[in-house]
């Protein structure tokens, strides 16, 4: 088996690749469902129904998609410049920490001032967190995959320390959780009485802004040039290191918004289970979207749908909801393969 380069496929064909990857993912998941002793058709029907079969399901899927849009965007913009930010999880938690530090009464301001201040502060903290690995990379050539990945564990332990210490809710019966944010620091719900909150709108707006940055601005051009061919970009006078630093600031900032939006819009306080791996799932979301910021919206909703749908399905069909994790992981592998196939043709002997 060999790979041969081939010319770029048309846009329509390119769009078929994620679809193909998803179909293959379902086929592979079917085998596991069969192994669990259920019918793939009824299981996938139940997943789809659980994800989008009712207003409640749909709103739940969009709610779950919100942090995934942020982390997916953070990964998409970073990967475009070939800055391998695997640390969206840590940046998310830092965003959550800033939200409870500023939002639990320290700043007695009205909503229209407090929320923007918290957002900016959270973004700054997330940016700062990724700045370290970015500087180590540009100055000393330290691999950012290692540093950002390991920072995830460091930050999670740091958050754990805060929740057992200074940020611990005095009324929390000893649980490692922070106090609730004040009403002025809460993002309102889009529909009264439902869980979907304005974090979803902020996520959509962020995606549009990222798309504009990548397509229309000097920075987006520089990021794509650096990601495509660093050496040629440097030769042409593009300040490669400065672009990587700016990319880190953008990516880390967006990832931190995921933490802000979860605390301020949904959970109300910070706990150690704020994120069931949204930072890592963001990588899948970004890859499924082929790093396109607008595509991130669709792929985040898709991935969220699988998680939400699988939860509902496991309650009725008795197939463990872990199937969702397997499917998302398989989707990443098939998508990476599909992206390879957009550029190469496989020749079998």
């Amino acid at each position: 088996m060999r790979l041969e380069p081939k010319p770029a496929p048309s846009l329509a064909v390119t769009l078929l690749y994620p679809v193909g990857a998803i179909i293959v993912t379902f086929l592979i998941a079917s085998l596991l469902v069969l192994a669990a002793g259920a019918s793939p058709f009824s299981v996938f029907y139940l997943v789809a129904k659980g994800a989008a079969g009712s207003q409640f399901a749909l709103l739940e899927t969009l709610t779950r998609a919100t942090p995934l849009i942020f982390t997916g965007l953070a990964v998409a913009v970073a990967f475009r410049a070939k800055l391998w930010n695997i640390g969206a999880e840590a940046q998310l938690y830092i965003g959550g920490v800033v939200t409870v530090v500023l939002g639990t009464g320290a700043l007695p301001l009205p909503s229209y001032l407090l929320i923007p201040i918290i957002m900016i502060a959270a973004m700054a903290a997330g940016a700062l967190l990724l700045l370290g690995p970015a500087i180590l990379k540009t100055r000393f050539g330290v691999d950012e995959v290692v540093t950002t990945l390991l920072l995830n564990f460091i930050v999670l332990l740091f958050v754990s320390m805060l929740l057992e210490g200074v940020l611990k809710d005095p009324t929390g019966l000893g649980w490692p959780q922070s106090s609730k944010v004040i009403a002025e620091a809460q993002l309102p719900r889009i529909i009264q009485g439902k869980r979907l909150h304005y974090g979803f709108v902020i996520a959509i707006v962020s995606a549009v802004i990222c798309w504009v940055i990548m397509k229309k601005t000097v920075l987006g051009y520089e990021m794509r040039a650096v990601g495509n061919n660093k050496e040629a970009a440097n030769f042409a006078g593009i300040p490669v290191n400065r672009v990587l630093i700016k990319t880190a600031i953008l990516s880390g900032g967006i990832a931190a918004l995921a933490g802000f939006s979860e605390v301020s819009g949904l959970k109300g306080n910070l706990t150690l289970d704020l994120s069931p791996g949204y930072g890592y799932s963001g990588i899948v979301v970004a890859m499924l979207a082929m790093l396109n910021p607008l595509g991130v919206i669709a792929s985040a909703i898709f991935v969220a749908g699988i998680f939400v749908g699988a939860d509902a399905m496991s309650r009725t069909a008795g197939v463990p909801s872990y199937i969702a994790q397997v499917m998302v992981a398989t989707a990443l592998l098939t998508m990476v393969t599909a992206i390879l196939l957009t550029r190469y043709r496989v020749r079998w002997k």
Partner: protein, 520 residues
Amino acid sequence: MAASIGVEQGAPAQADIVLRLDGITKRFGPLVANNAISFTLRRGEVIALLGENGAGKTTLMNILFGHYVADEGTVEAFGKPLPPGDPRAALDAGIGMVHQHFTLAENMTVLENIALGTQSPWSLRLDRAAARRRIEKLSADFGLTVHPDATVATLSVGERQRVEILKALYRDARILILDEPTAVLTPAETDALFRTLKLLVAQGLSIIFISHKLNEVMAVSDCVLVLRSGTLAGERTTATTNRAELAALMVGQEVSSPPVSAPRTGPVVFELKNVSTARQGTTTRLDGLSLALRAGEITGLAGVSGNGQSALASLISGTLQPASGEMVIGGSAAGNWSPRAALASGIGRIPEDRHAVGTIGDMSITENVISERYATPRFSRHGFLDWKAARAFAEEIIRDYDVKAPSPEARIRLLSGGNMQKLILGRALDSEPAVILANQPTRGLDVGAVAFVHRRLLEARDRGAAILLISEDLEEILALSDRILVMSKGQLSSPSKRGERSIRELGELMAGHGEVNDAA
């Protein structure tokens, strides 16, 4: 000179056919890379495969060697059909290929490289003594001197090529394919290679020699196949053809070297005074180098690659900072040096490697032509790019520099080498820079594109640009340069005016013999 020592011409000793290609067709999407190509190779024969870049030579050889699978047609070696797409089968059938870019493991010895892959992966030890005996015998028989225990990383380019040839011979190759073998060699090394080829042919091996260089093709081959845009444009017996006829077959029209008027030399516009650079990896560094470029003059820098040209080119391009010494551009000393500073001080740069350094392959033509100037008000305002202006600029370059491209939105990777180089030329020359660095501007280009690049460089000279032409192609240096310097071991020779030094004298300077003058 390469042409001075040739392989004896005339009919091959025996006329038995060792290789037969029949109706080979290969398509890449809409592009037909090879169109129904048939030819035969006989025992003891040297066939030259001549053609422009993109004419389909490499594709054809990759099919022969099993890297690609032909859409139509068959290959037959020694009377037996060769299974398509199987390099192993090609090797077993006795076909050896010496690639243009060597495929050696640098951290291993010559012996290890040659024996690599000849034994079963399950065998526990390498029979070094037997391998050494064979290598020494092959070396002696064919004049391929190289020490079996030397680490490949320490070898010169010429020596590495010998290792590649030994590798093929060690595997009992009876047919040897050489892809642009002389592109990286000095004239003396080329002569040695041709002597080796002669010995191989005398032993009954058959050779396919891929080249752009007409004089070498004339010197070394029995028979010439000319490829043009994927089809066989002509098949000639070397003894009864001439360079002009072959050149015409290659491009489909007669070509001539550009007329060169007398230079109107102006003041010094770029000067290096006693400049040294820090060592970068294994490249030769500059040590106290001085160089002055005058307006309206082309300074040709000849030399074998690896003698400090890349450090000098990086320095002028802005990707390398001087460690000591002074750089004076247009009368003022250069400050903080970077590619952007180089561009800002009016230096137009044509890099040596257009794929890795000159262009960003997966970005469009438009995105590539603005890469050196996207931050200027012409192409961006308040951080937003003006894609309309960028596209208009790309269309302008495509028109003015005769680039064949489907559209400004096409990915630059899809262009041929010549068209890519024309775009780079357009990007560098459009702003009428006062200083131009042209580093190997025509390497690997076809005759038509070479003439185009030469004409544009001469036009730039005539409007008053100071040009530094770095090239390993002595003919190019001699054709264009008003003043010639030779670089060897990081040092420059004294300059010579057009026609002052003979090719042989330049060759000796390139080889590091003769006087060295550090104040050029």
